[in-house]
Point group: C2
Chain length 406, copies 2
Amino acid sequence: MALIVQKFGGTSVADLNRIRAVADRVAATVRAGNQVAVVVSAMAGVTNQLVAWVRDAHADYDPREYDTVVSTGEQVTTGLLALALNNIGIPARSWLGWQLPIRTDGSHGRARIDDIATDELMKGLSKGEVQVIAGFQGLAPGNRVSTLGRGGSDTSAVAVAAALKAERCDIYTDVDGVYTSDPRIVAKARKLDKITYEEMLEMASLGAKVLHTRSVELAMKYNVRLQVLSSFSNEPGTLCVNEDEIVEQELVSGITYSRDEAKITLVRVADKPGIAAKLFGPLSDAEVNVDMIVQNVSEDGKATDITFTVTKGDLKAALKVVESLKGELGYAALVPDSNVVKVSVIGVGMRSHAGVAKTMFETMAAKGINIQVISTSEIKISVLIAEEYTELALRALHSAYGLDSA
Amino acid sequence: MALIVQKFGGTSVADLNRIRAVADRVAATVRAGNQVAVVVSAMAGVTNQLVAWVRDAHADYDPREYDTVVSTGEQVTTGLLALALNNIGIPARSWLGWQLPIRTDGSHGRARIDDIATDELMKGLSKGEVQVIAGFQGLAPGNRVSTLGRGGSDTSAVAVAAALKAERCDIYTDVDGVYTSDPRIVAKARKLDKITYEEMLEMASLGAKVLHTRSVELAMKYNVRLQVLSSFSNEPGTLCVNEDEIVEQELVSGITYSRDEAKITLVRVADKPGIAAKLFGPLSDAEVNVDMIVQNVSEDGKATDITFTVTKGDLKAALKVVESLKGELGYAALVPDSNVVKVSVIGVGMRSHAGVAKTMFETMAAKGINIQVISTSEIKISVLIAEEYTELALRALHSAYGLDSA
């Protein structure tokens, strides 16, 4: 008998028929001899409506009241799923964040979980009762409701799985797992059976919107076996595990892309110490997140070009900051470019293999694609290229790294 | 400086514009120098949707889960009103039932309030902060959410007012007070400035759907000055008070009617001891609420007619029970009649004046209206008449008791 945590997102519980389908799926897991704790999100669309009301009531809202209002979405689903389970003969009860409690810090609207009390859950599970837990919410200091921020239900599920020392945490979504690349672009993309936490983290932060980054970090920290699978099929999904659990580690596990990139180039900035600080300090103060940075070696030792990338949404704010610094930085020209895409290859295998970057650059060259910016980490290489080459680059790299399905 | 409790129902908080209007009204009371605690209902329609979902999830639902789901309506309004108040510069915070807590018994779905902790509320009020409290909900034993049943927010408001020893509890509704009769029928009906708790109780249970009976009982028990007034005007409403606060008590305060009545007559039942028990015992077992009962004196000492009334909704069930008893009761015929209305005159003044019933019967006779059943209590007289005479009877009685406005 295993203890399984299952998490169902908004589209999986969008209406009562879907909630009944979720109940059937939970029931099947129970009848297969498992103890089950379920974490649920709000019905699709509900949270957006609640957030809109809050913003309409007060633009500069008190986040404690935001949490009071917005947490009701999960509360409704939790009760309804417990009832739908009862309805098919499965004992079940709902739990709200304050009832267990799921204690969080006081960062309302984006709280972090400090501790989950499990006594009552374990008591219920040992009686064969399904524990249905409201995701996304907790109890903050001062006896107020807190929420974990968007995508927080994934984090709730992993935290519950860690606290209960569950065998596995199954995250049901509307995709059936993690793919080697986006199947809408790369027809030969394959679903991965297993992926390491670190690769999954890079995937999540580099554009594959399957799991919330925080939930993967938490799973890695507490060694929770995390499975991503579809609530609309019965196929196994993709399991996030420790590196040592993957015997035949591939060199590259996935190729991702992000169109949400914009490039800014400062032409002929004075090449002297402190320039970078003068540029990136004010950008950080303006809460502009800078991703890739390149500074060319200057030819004459007097001036250099600086290029950096931000999200498309931050471009305007970034340009405003840079323009305000014109006097200090004394650049010759400021060149923004939104027609760029960031393509990344990810794989823990590249730690021990040197040829990964070489393959990437050769593949780009062979297709005539100019690389504008490069950034690397221990397990990924990202390049910024013109957006029009996105599909070509993804397909070529997918083949080059031997990821194509047969 | 007075401490006022204000309660706003579903139509008063139906959308954000209405909630903003409520905030303005609360703000005016605060700026007039009062401390204010506000009790709110769910936005109109929300509770019905939630109840429908619960019933759809499980026809024979666990009332604890019902309460978990249905209580979210008030939670949303509470947060939104606190924000709308903040937005116009009024410090305010929301309180859920479990946060104060408002302790109730364990009768989920129709819980009774045991106790309200007021320390935190008093602390907030003394700082000049408006306390916005979710109506309808509480904390049941076992740390579960409870709800008080439909109309429970009125009860919450009165209980909060009693606990805080408030100067007054103002119940804002979509009518501007309690009238001597239904103004849609009796054009000369007048709004009452004051009414006794007992009269208000009879009004509530006899068809005037202004306040929930339980809230009036509670106000009477704890001597809470209860005002019913419109959230869409600035006129004073009707104040429920103790009898001794009304100096010039009128003989009759109001004339109500209820169309939700059905009459059943058992013709020629054996006139022997135990017959009433044989009839009304099984009806009670079938949860049929019997209201008025008449048993004629038999002419020959052998058989009698029994007539009683039930709500229209219970008629079918009542007939089924009576038919199943045919063998035992041995009646000659069973005659149902749904074309009846119950008209009642209410007034604490009739305790000390004998002529009230006489005026009623004479007025009915003068208009040629046949009285089918009569029932009386200390402060009301009810008669059952054919439905077609409703308007005629109400207007005639209204004049006869001198209630017509000039």
